[in-house]
């Protein structure tokens, strides 16, 4: 039972822009909203917030506000914020909803979207089993073509899918072994830990390996995740077994072809995630975001069938362009190359620093 492309009339004519709702305006939701807003073929109808906090206040300057439930309407008006209605009202007026609610909440919201016959994108915290496809623009864009319920994989999986699929397309990849050094929490959180310890995933592989397989056809994907007390970025130590003999120059040339991957150099003043995030701020994007995966040039090591490199991942923003592309795939709006080109152009993703 496919949801009809609501934007298409019986005659096949299109009805202007894709109408997008954003449910959840946290780390991901706010960034996807701003990214959708600058697309020519999409518009943000409104965003859903639960609390009338400082985030809602700033959001209200750019977006129509909706509450998660009627019981919250009063709390908004008490804070001088006008919520135009509830998520129920918003769903009546959108072609697709981007669900960026906390992990696990998306699954609870799915019946509501089904009931309203609205397409929905979920984030990486939800399980792959609840959707028709998992999404990464580089590795499996077409799997989501025309689908109603899709999940954009997590920041870590997105990062691995980008660089590994680039290598795979050119050289073939048999096996991935990766150590994921995870940031503890996002910069706007002061509650979670760890603050002074290192916490390994005690399952092998960590969930990232299997998750990668939902978007990339790879034989073996072994991952270990280690949580460390930092909020800036994740870092991945990637070890690939490739089909063809490969050189470091091959890899440098290869990554240049993908705008969402950049190579950086420690000798350029970028020895750690602290300076990479500073570079992102200097680039002048809102919130100092870095949509690109940053691979340290010095870390690229190639020898016959072995390729190793270290990459840094801005967990707050790398999935943002993916959400935009997923919308286009689900609405059958543009093919992969056109969508990625347009997203990168509008978000000023240029592929080099």
């Amino acid at each position: 039972m496919r949801i009809p492309q609501r934007r298409t009339l019986c005659t096949g004519e299109k009805l202007g822009m894709i109408k997008v709702g954003i449910n959840g305006y946290g780390t991901i939701g706010r960034r996807v909203a701003d990214a959708v807003r600058v697309q020519k073929d999409m518009s943000v109808v409104g965003i859903v917030k639960t609390k009338p906090d400082y985030v809602a206040r700033e959001a209200s300057k750019n977006y129509r506000l909706f509450c998660s439930g009627k019981e919250n309407l009063k709390s908004f008006s008490e804070e001088g914020l006008e919520a135009e209605g509830t998520i129920d009202d918003l769903l009546d007026d959108v072609d697709i909803i981007v669900d960026a609610t906390p992990e696990g909440q998306g699954e609870k919201n799915l019946p509501m979207y089904r009931n309203k016959k609205v397409k929905a994108i979920f984030q990486g915290g939800e399980s792959s089993g609840m959707v028709e496809a998992s999404f990464n623009a580089y590795s499996n864009f077409m799997d989501s073509w025309g689908k109603d319920y899709v999940r954009v994989v997590s920041c870590n999986t997105t990062a691995m899918a980008r660089t590994v699929s680039a290598v795979m397309n050119r050289f073939g990849v048999r096996k991935l072994d990766a150590t994921i050094i995870r940031r503890a929490t996002d910069p706007n959180d002061s509650k979670k830990g760890p603050i002074n310890s290192v916490e390994p995933s005690l399952k092998f592989p960590s969930h990232h390996g299997p998750d990668l397989k939902t978007v990339l056809r790879i034989g073996e994907a072994n991952t270990v995740a280690i949580k460390v007390p930092t909020t800036l970025m994740h870092v991945h130590v990637v070890n690939l077994t490739v089909d063809k003999s490969i050189t470091e120059d091959d890899v440098n040339d290869l990554f240049k072809e993908y705008r969402r991957i950049i190579t950086i150099r420690g000798k350029d003043g970028l020895p750690s995630t602290a300076q990479i995030m500073d570079m992102a701020r200097e680039m002048g994007r809102k919130r100092g975001d870095l949509f690109e995966i940053a691979v340290w040039k010095e870390s690229i090591y190639a020898n016959n069938n072995t390729l190793r490199y270290i990459q840094a991942v801005h967990q707050e923003s790398d999935v943002v362009p993916e959400n935009v592309d997923a919308i286009r795939a689900m609405l059958q709006e543009k093919d992969r190359e056109s969508s990625v080109d347009e997203t990168d152009r509008t978000l000023e993703i240029r592929g080099k620093t």
Copy 2:
């Protein structure tokens, strides 16, 4: 021996915009450059960098680059960056230089500026003895009127001068006791500590109390500084003995009159510096800067002659508007009120969240 106002002809006519050079493009220099750039009465002639790193690369998109010395010119060209000359060349073409070089370097640079007959602003890391005046726009703007060598006090002193001078002007302040919980280092630094300890200043008072007295006529200023492992902001616990009996409403009303002071609420989702910095990012300023001193409303306690409050200070940016105003004072360009109005308007400092 006053340096002539180079921009003024014998007839008293003005020669267009104030020509500003920036020596040192670190945390403060880059922000002052961007702030000067948006003023109608000033322009950035060029910036001085020592290394051709990622910061120089980003800077070159907006500014003419100059090297700190001839010996560095080659290293820039090797990295594909064009430096137009050295600081010597830049000094020939500016009315005033903002020295934002590392602590102690400003004093070494002073003879060079004297020699070139160029006015100079130094930052809070330099000693007050080497300049004609220390500067804070709220507390002593006119002390720098027409002066050649001025120091904008540090981020911490600037923050205290702002809120304490506001209280002093209305209610009189006899004594300040403050505990300054200092951030360890700036977000783009990964070398300095402490990373997991708390480090008190072992001198009493810390240098902040005496420093405050260079810009504010206060009888007693007792400060203690405690360094903690965070990079986001400083936090001040301020305890004032005031001349007149004072209420919490008085203080709330008072702070509303000063745009560079904002009151925030923990209950608005802002219990810590993590969320305050997130709010600043949402406000959409470049680099997520917060020029304003943020006072927690819940922390304001007033009882007879005692006033206590807690404020958070974005150490990377609170001195930026002060540097702009100091330029105008030294060039006798605008009076205090006009300068502060213009700076706040151009930097979008609106006095409320």
